[in-house]
């Protein structure tokens, strides 16, 4: 792929986000480094509360009260988003970067027709006339495969099903031809069959429009067909980063292995129990001294509890990296 050689579209360096808790400020995201190349699809995977969504909201100045970015840079097409004024950032949101949120049921204003909501980014970012915007909205509706197309523009959100609303939200995110689409668990609230449809839709739109996609999810199996690369987050840090095929072939961090192991499989003996990862992630501000995953890890060694591992390339690869003291050795043993 030629796009792989280009300069990054989005480059996040050393990002740290802090939230206020009852015990004082606590870092929920720290030392976060990743990049997205133009047209690339990146999967961000991790369980609830590991900092996936807050990272994306933080970059775009959408953090809820009580949370703030305390360190790092997030460079989008040459500009650091974290240094932009509110006005400039508003132009980036919806203009260069489109968002798709998790819950299509509550992400629409119930008192406005979807057409009125769909044309808003066009009115404010593209300064289109209402008539032109309405025409473009009709095109967008067809683009995302809403049966009836522009006829549904005068419907209210409650008249559409969840899957259709998610399609409309994707249309809203794509209204101004963004170079990056951030999808924050867009299929979590949908039925399995609809999940696959939405996934196919995004895959298809990406092929046609060429935008980069950041797909946040906790479902490793779901994104395998969509993304090029995956980063696995645990307790606000990247624990493993790899091209998607590599990750499935050779998961190296015990957390990734656990995530993949907890997926149900059709093959293998019947009546087998589904594997799970015991315990819960550490609360913000209560990170253990060594590796944050050590208390739940089945492969831990003494060093894991005293010293924190850094993200490092695995033997025999530059693009597959993991933050684990045992990762390299385990996979080498498995290969031998």
């Amino acid at each position: 792929m030629s796009s792989m050689a280009k300069a990054p579209l989005l480059e996040v360096k050393d990002l740290a986000i802090e939230v206020s808790t009852r015990r004082g400020p606590a870092k929920v995201v720290e030392h976060l480094n990743f990049m997205v190349k133009p047209g690339e699809a990146l999967g961000v995977v991790g369980e609830s509360g590991c900092g996936k969504s807050i990272t994306m909201l933080g970059m775009m100045g959408l953090l809820p009260p009580g949370a703030r970015v305390v360190d790092g840079t997030a460079t989008l097409e040459g500009r650091d988003l974290l240094k932009l004024s509110n006005r400039e950032l508003r132009k980036v949101r919806g203009g260069q970067v489109g968002f798709v949120f998790q819950d299509p049921m509550t992400s629409f204003n119930p008192v406005m027709t979807i057409g009125d909501q769909l044309i808003e980014p066009l009115l404010y970012h593209r300064a289109m006339s209402k008539a032109d915007a309405w025409k473009r909205a009709g095109e967008l509706m067809r683009l995302v495969g809403i049966p009836g197309g522009e006829k549904r523009l005068s419907d209210y959100p409650h008249q559409l099903s969840g899957g259709m609303r998610q399609r409309v939200m994707i249309a809203m995110g794509l209204a101004c031809d963004p170079s990056l689409l951030i999808a924050d668990e867009p299929t979590t609230a949908l039925d399995v069959t609809i999940q696959a449809q939405i996934l196919d839709l995004v895959k298809d739109l990406r092929a046609r429009l060429g935008m980069a996609v950041v797909w946040i999810t906790h479902d490793l199996a779901l994104v395998s067909g969509l993304v090029d690369r995956i980063i696995v987050l645990y307790a606000g840090r990247i624990v493993e980063e790899a091209d998607v095929d590599d990750l499935y072939k050779r998961p190296s961090h015990p957390y990734t292995i656990g995530l993949l192991g907890s997926l149900p499989r059709l093959h293998g003996p019947e009546g087998r129990r589904l594997a799970s990862i015991g315990g819960t992630p550490p609360e913000p501000g209560r990170r253990p001294k060594g590796c944050a995953f050590a208390p739940r890890c089945s492969m831990k060694i003494a060093r894991c509890e005293t010293e924190e591992p850094q993200l490092a390339p695995l033997p025999g690869s530059t693009r597959h990296r993991a933050a684990c003291w045992v990762a390299g050795t385990v996979s080498v043993e498995a290969a031998a």
């Binding site: 809820p64 919806g94 949120f101 119930p110 406005m112």
Partner: protein, 321 residues
């Protein structure tokens, strides 16, 4: 299972019929019998208040000393009082007083409450604390006590000022003591009624501004002004409509209570509270003098709360099931 699949298309078609939230709410309100009764009574009350003077041959002030304390009869449908004034005419004029007072008072209270509440909810921080502190302080003083204090302390200087203005300009408008009454009554009542609206609007703004669609609108890069006007306010206004409807009835009762205690609209201007106060002294001998204004006040209040209740159900479709 089969039942479910059959039921689903029907309900979908049902939703399809009513396009918008407001027309949807209107249809639900139409289906609510109690609310419609309330609405009918309120419309009747408004019509009577507007056209009342042409509906009765009597004036609320004209006395007929030959027909004092008459029980209801063909000439005087609700009887006459101790000065021979027609009770029906006084009740009708009283409706005028009650409506004007409750409308103006509620309008002032809502204006103060919505402004302060929206500021508190949207700005947050120390401004929010200061406004809430003011609200709590106002609410902690008993309503009637506050009104009595305002009336007792402000009435003499205001009357003296009006007198001076009259001396200076000789304009007869300054001799109209009704103005003092109304300003004081409206002012005192608005002063005790706004905190409820303020709290409601603050809570609404607080809850709406953290909804997903507001975040979604921000993620689309829309300006704050647009988000406030199109996303926050329309979604926060439903409960306010309900509160205003109930508040109109409450203001009517409050006005009567003030008049009853002698700090409201002063005689001879007819007010239901005044009439109840007068009727109470003679209710053993002439019960109709108490019954007529009391019944009308009761019916009006109940009508407002039925309508408010119906609006509550209509605007919260989820709350009913």
């Amino acid at each position: 299972m089969a039942v479910e699949t059959l039921a689903a298309p029907a309900s979908a078609a049902d939703i399809e019929k009513h396009a918008s939230l407001w027309s949807d709410a209107w249809h639900r309100l139409l289906a609510n019998r109690l609310a419609m009764v309330g609405l009918a009574v309120i419309v009747l009350l408004i019509l009577v208040a507007i056209f009342g003077p042409w509906m009765t041959p009597y004036d609320f002030l004209s006395q007929d000393l030959n027909a004092r304390n008459e029980l209801p009869n063909a000439a005087h449908w609700l009887g006459t009082d101790e000065l021979g004034r027609d009770v029906l005419a006084r009740v009708i004029y009283g409706a005028r007083t009650a409506l004007i007072v409750s409308l103006i008072v509620t309008a002032i209270a809502v204006a103060i409450g919505v402004t302060l509440g929206a500021i508190a909810g949207y700005a947050g921080g120390p401004l929010d604390s200061a406004i809430m502190w003011l609200t709590d302080m106002t609410m902690s003083v008993p309503n009637l006590l506050l009104a009595v204090v305002i009336n007792a302390s402000l009435k003499p200087p205001l009357t003296a000022w009006m007198d001076r203005m009259y001396q200076a300009t000789l304009n007869p408008i300054w001799r109209n003591s009704l103005i003092v009454d109304f300003v004081l009554v409206f002012g005192a009542m608005a002063l005790v009624s706004w905190p409820a609206y303020c709290r409601l609007v603050r809570a609404q703004v607080l809850s709406v501004r953290s909804r997903n669609y507001v975040t979604a609108a921000r993620a689309l890069g829309l300006p704050t002004r647009v988000i406030l006007m199109r996303y926050i306010v329309p979604n926060a206004i439903g409960p306010l409509i309900v509160a205003v409807s109930a508040g109109l009835g409450a203001a009517m009762v409050l006005e009567s209570a003030f008049s009853f205690l002698g700090v409201g609209v002063n005689p001879p201007a007819p007010s239901w509270g005044n009439m109840i106060s007068d009727g109470l002294r003679v209710w053993r001998t002439y019960p109709h003098l108490l019954a007529a204004p009391a019944a009308v006040l009761g019916i009006a209040t109940i009508a407002f709360s039925f309508l408010g209740d119906g609006l509550n159900d209509a605007l919260n479709p989820k709350g009913r099931k």
